[in-house]
Subunit: 221 residues, 2 copies
DNA sequence: TAGGTTGTTATTGGATCCAATTCATGCCAC
DNA sequence: GTGGCATGAATTGGATCCAATAACAACCTA
């Protein structure tokens, strides 16, 4: 009852379950999603499943082909690179919109997330905390369109971020930590210009590292 | 039978009809969309209507609230301003991705559209041609994610562009034509840097003009 | 033996019916 | 007269059944 998902519809509940499965890697890119399987596995009939798939398609997590069903998009290196270039353009904007509304409590929260990142080095945990770190820096951005676009970009690239981290390990953790600290310092100075620049550099460096590892995109077969 | 829409699904057909109605102003922002009305008006049952509404929600043309139905989003000036700031960041990227693949035939097509803009000054026609002009400049961009985002931004702001044009008339046509010509010239020189800059200025100036006319956002009641 | 064809099966798309939720109207108490 | 509450209608959400389309396989023919 304290759970907020109870009040939402069955289609939202199914969408959330599928979203989790896709983002944490339980459902891999390229995998097909049959409506009846999902309906049976998560409960309910095929109809809310269809609506859930539409919701996820809107978020870029699945793609639907008429009369052919839904599957998790399998991206090539060029697509992921473009998604990162989109991040480089949009997220500094989100950060600048957020800056003015960031409370000191928000900054403390960001700092705490970074502290946890520098402690635990587990890949799965890092993916979660890194996402929380950046999203926390955008909490002051109240524009839903912009934030939805940002979330879409993170969702679409989540799998390849995990593949990269699993491949390279946490060897690059020091660089990420340095970038995060620079960003935090700019946030505390309320310096929008610097913060945007540090964020841009952070995303751009990650993009270049990703494209340097095309083996991430090889299918598991 | 020669019609391509026949081969597509009913939900796509209904979505296209609604999309047209929203973009050309037949359905105004804030207006509610009752499923049964649409099903009756466009043919078919409520089920493909629901899927069509999901499709349009993914494009930002309607917003769906659980158990409350769908309506065309009514944006405030701040939201539109942010959407334009997003355009300023994303469309130069789309243009740069497009540049290398633009054929001379594409450039001729762009030039022809601009020629028609400088002839006819009808507001409705201008909205169509202006959109065609910019989209034609992005034809070389093959990335679907990026183009979908750009189209979403155009769709979401279409109504306010029309309201602005209807209010101010075509007095600013000379400025737009000058900007378009500068952009075309940069495209023909294959100068990505200049083209991005001209495009950024074009969108930014439009944004500033829009926010200078808050009466666009007053509800018709 | 290879290629095309045809029939079968599995899966998605759509229509109708029923349940749950929301909104509006009117009533009653204060 | 106004605020709260209950009852009604209107609308959306979900389940089941049926039709259409696509993937698959076996078969036949050249």
């Amino acid at each position: 009852m304290s759970d907020a998902s109870t009040e939402s519809a069955a289609s939202s509940r199914i969408a959330q379950a599928l979203r989790d499965d896709i983002l944490n890697g339980s459902i891999a890119p390229g995998q097909r999603l049959r409506q009846e399987d999902i309906a049976e596995r998560l409960g309910g009939s095929r109809l809310p499943v269809r609506e859930a798939l539409r919701i996820l398609a809107a978020e870029g997590l699945v793609q639907i082909e008429p009369n052919k069903g839904a599957r998790v998009p399998l991206l090539d290196p060029g697509e992921v690179e473009t998604l990162y270039r989109m991040r480089e353009r949009l997220e500094p904007l989100a950060l600048s919109e957020s800056m003015a509304n960031l409370s000191s409590a928000d900054l403390a929260e960001i700092s705490d997330i970074q502290r946890r990142i520098e402690q635990g080095v587990d890949v799965t945990e890092f993916l979660i905390l890194d996402r929380e770190f950046h999203m926390a820096s955008y909490t002051g951005c109240s524009d839903e369109h912009l934030m939805l676009s940002v979330v879409r970009l993170w969702n679409s690239t989540q799998h390849y971020r995990r593949a990269f981290m699993s491949l390279t390990g946490s060897g690059r953790a020091q660089i990420v930590n340095a970038e995060h600290r620079l960003l935090m310092e700019a946030l505390e100075r309320r310096d929008t210009e610097d913060a945007e620049l540090y964020l841009l550099g952070h995303i751009r460096r990650t993009r270049k590292e990703l494209v340097r590892h095309p083996e991430i995109f090889s299918t598991g077969s």
